[in-house]
Symmetry: C2
Subunit: 404 residues, 2 copies
C-alpha cells in the first residue's frame, strides 16, 4: 500500500506567505472597499524595464518563426546568459567563476529548496533565526530536521543561530559544528548585511570544519555601502566551501518572469565527492530549463540600457526604504535594515506578538506586513515591512501608522 512521506506532516501550519494571503483575502472579503497597502510578501511592483520588454518581444518573435524557433534549452542554461553573468556578476568583481559553474534556473526559491537533495540526509543544518522559511521547510520535508518542538517553535535537530539586536543580526559561530550552513546577506528578513571580514570568517570556519555554506545573495543589488561583499566568492577560499544563489526577482523585477541561477564551483567537495556533477545530474533529471524568452530577458538585464533602467528601479525602492525607516523612527519604532536591503525590520508596538501586530496593522491601518515570528522563534516580537511598494504607498503607510 502506498504511504506518504511523513516528514511533511511535521511541518507546522502552512507556508508563511500562503497564510498571510489567506488572512488578507478574508479581510478584503469582509471589507471589499478597504484600501490595502501591501508591504508583506517581498513582491516587486514596478513593471519590467523597457529594454527587457523589448528583448522579450524579440525572443517571442523568434519562437514564432521557423528559422529561429528554439525547443529544449541546454541542460544548464544558454551560453549567452551564463557568459554574461560570469563576466558582469563575477569577473568584474574579481571573482573567478566560469560560465560552466553557473546553473540557470527558474529562481532562487526553487534552487534554495532543492539544493539540500544532493547532501546526505544525516547532514546537520544551521540556519539564522529569524530565517527565510524555505531553508528549514525543505529540510523538514527531506527528514533532516527531526521533530518540531511546539513549545520552543523549533525543530530539534536544526542548529538555530540567533540573530539579534545585540549581534547586529549577524550570527556567531554555533557551538555544535554544522555540516550545511545557510547564510543570506543582505538578509531576509532583517535587512542586515555581513561585512567582508565577517563573511571571510565564515568561509574560514567552513573550510576548517569541512562544512558547506549555502549562500543566498538574492538581494545583492541593494547593497549601498562599501566593504559589503556582493558575492561570497569575493572571499578567499570560498570556491572550496560555498554554493551561491542569485535571483533576477529583486534585481530586475522578475518575480512573475521567474529566473535565477546557482553557482556550484567545480572544485567544491563534500566528504571527498564533487558537488558539481551531482547538481548537474539533478538539473538534467528533474528540471528542463528556464524558458528561452526569459533567458533572453535575463541577458537584457546586463545590457547598457537594461542596467541603467534597473538601477533607477532599485533607486526607487531604496528611496521607499529610506522613507519607511525614517518615518517609523519618527513614529517611535525601533527600526533596522533598509539601507543595503529592501527589508525593514522593526520591533512591534507595546510588546505585541508578531501576529498580534499583523492583525493590528491590517485592521487599524489596512497595511499588510510580515510577522517576524513567521521567520522563526527569534523573530517573535518583530515585524518586517518591504520597500517594494510605490513611493506614494510608502508615504501613505507611514502617515497611517503615525496617526495610530
Amino acid at each position: 500500500m502506498a504511504s506518504v512521506n511523513r516528514n511533511y506532516l511535521k511541518l507546522p501550519g502552512s507556508y508563511l506567505f500562503s497564510t498571510i494571503a489567506r488572512k488578507v483575502e478574508a479581510y478584503t472579503s469582509a471589507h471589499p472597499d478597504a484600501d490595502i497597502i501591501r508591504m508583506g510578501i517581498g513582491d516587486v511592483t514596478q513593471p519590467i524595464a523597457p529594454a527587457i520588454i523589448q528583448a522579450l518581444h524579440e525572443a517571442v518573435d523568434e519562437m514564432g518563426s521557423d528559422d529561429s524557433f528554439r525547443g529544449y534549452a541546454p541542460d544548464l542554461g544558454y551560453e549567452f546568459l551564463r557568459s554574461i553573468i560570469a563576466e558582469k556578476d563575477y569577473k568584474d568583481r574579481g571573482c573567478d567563476i566560469d560560465p560552466s559553474e553557473i546553473f540557470i534556473s527558474d529562481g532562487a526559491k526553487s534552487d534554495c529548496g532543492n539544493i539540500q537533495e544532493i547532501f546526505d540526509v544525516n547532514n546537520k543544518i544551521a540556519v539564522c533565526d529569524p530565517v527565510y522559511p524555505v531553508y528549514v521547510d525543505s529540510n523538514v520535508m527531506a527528514g533532516r530536521t527531526g521533530e518540531y518542538d511546539e513549545s520552543l517553535g523549533c525543530f530539534r535537530d536544526v542548529i538555530y543561530m540567533p540573530c539579534t539586536r545585540e549581534n547586529g543580526f549577524v550570527p556567531l559561530f554555533p557551538k555544535e559544528i554544522p555540516d550545511l550552513i545557510y547564510l543570506c546577506f543582505p538578509n531576509n528578513p532583517t535587512g542586515a548585511v555581513m561585512k567582508k571580514d565577517a563573511l571571510q570568517g565564515w568561509v574560514d570556519y567552513a573550510r576548517s570544519h569541512g562544512s558547506v555554506i549555502l549562500y543566498d545573495a538574492a538581494y545583492e543589488a541593494f547593497i549601498a555601502e562599501d566593504d559589503v561583499p556582493h558575492s561570497i566568492y569575493e572571499c578567499t577560499g570560498a570556491k572550496e566551501c560555498a554554493i551561491e544563489f542569485r535571483s533576477f526577482s529583486k534585481t530586475a523585477g522578475f518575480t512573475g518572469l521567474r529566473l535565477g541561477f546557482t553557482v556550484v564551483p567545480k572544485e567544491l567537495e563534500a566528504g571527498g565527492e564533487k558537488l558539481w556533477p551531482l547538481w548537474a545530474r539533478r538539473h538534467g533529471t528533474k528540471y528542463n530549463g528556464a524558458p528561452y524568452i526569459v533567458q533572453r530577458a535575463g541577458e537584457a538585464v546586463y545590457s547598457e540600457k537594461g542596467r541603467s533602467q534597473i538601477r533607477q528601479q532599485i533607486a526607487i525602492y531604496k528611496e521607499n526604504a529610506r522613507i519607511i525607516v525614517e518615518g517609523m523612527k519618527e513614529a517611535g519604532y525601533e527600526v533596522f535594515g533598509g539601507v543595503n536591503a529592501p527589508y525593514i525590520w522593526m520591533k512591534t508596538k507595546d510588546n505585541m506578538t508578531s501576529w498580534e501586530f499583523f492583525d493590528y496593522l491590517l485592521n487599524e491601518a489596512q497595511i499588510v506586513g510580515t510577522p517576524g515570528s513567521g521567520f522563526g522563534p527569534g523573530g517573535e516580537g518583530y515585524f518586517r515591512l518591504t520597500a517594494f511598494g510605490s513611493r506614494m504607498g510608502s508615504i501613505r503607510a507611514i502617515d497611517r501608522i503615525k496617526k495610530l
Copy 2:
C-alpha cells in the same frame, strides 16, 4: 563534515539525452559539414502557433505597464488557466476534475521527477521496461530503488514490468504488488497505447491494493484511435488512486516555453493521508509558479484559433510518423507505434545492440535516434525515432536508411 547524498552515486552514467547530445557534438566537431537529421530527443521543431505568439506579445506588454504588471503568480497557477484546463481537458471528456485539483508547473518532467518526494522512501515503485528514465532516476536519487545491478541493468528494489512485442508493449500486473505504479500512455518510448478496458483494469488493480498510479499523459494530443482514453480519469474510480501529468510540450510545441500541469484529486489518499495538501505544500515551498506570460500562452492553446493551429501542427507530426513507419517497414524493419504517438519503436538491424545501431545510423546516415537500451534493459535491441522533425527531414531520413 558535509557529505553527499550517496544515492546519486548509484546512477549509472549520465542522463540519457545528455549522453546523446555529447555523442552528436563529438560527431559534428569531427564532421563540421555533416547534414544531421535529428530524430533522437523528443523535441518539436515547428514554431509556436500564431495565436499563442499573439498572446505572448500581449502578456509581455502587460508586464511592461504599471497598471497590468504581474509579480508572483498564485501558488498553484492562475485561475484563468486552471479553469480552461478543467473545462476543455476534463469536463468535455466527461471527467470531473475541479480547477483547484490542477497544479500549473514548468513541465511534466519536473513534476514526474518531483512527485515521488511526497511518498514514503520505502514505497516500492513499478515501472514499465523500457521506460522514460526520469521515473527511475528520480527514485534512485531519493533512495527508493536499492543498488544498481550491472549485470541485469536494473535496480534491485524496482519492479520492472516488461513491455514486449508479445504483450503489445502493455504491461501485465506484476507478481509483487507495487506501492507506486508509473504508467505513460501513449507510451514513451514505444508509442503503444492502453485501451480503455485495460486502463480500467489497472485502476481497479490499484484501488484493490491501495497503490497509487502516476499517470503520464504527455502525449495524449496524438491519440487518433477511438477507445483510447485521453485521461486516466475517464476510468471509474481513478480519482481515488491516480495522479495525472500533462504537458504543453508536445501538444503545442512548448518544449522551450515550459508549461505543464499535474492533477491531484482532493479525495486521493495514500495510507490514509490525503495527497493534495502535500503536493500543495511542495508547490508552495520549493516552487514559485510558471511565468505569467507562459501561463497566458497556455490559455491561448485552448482558444478557437489556438486549437485549430495546434491541430494542424500535430497533423504534420502524425504525417511524419506515417512516413517513417511505412518507410521503415519497406526498408525491412519491424516497426511499432507511430499511430497514436509521435514515437516510432523498432527492432535494430541484424541484431545490433541499441548503441551499436545508434552509432551505425549516426556514422552511416547522419541520423540521430535514441537507443532503446537507454530506456531500460527491455529496450535492448530496439531503437526509437521521433516524428518531430520536418516532413522533408522524415522523407530524407527514410531515403538514407533505405540506401544503407
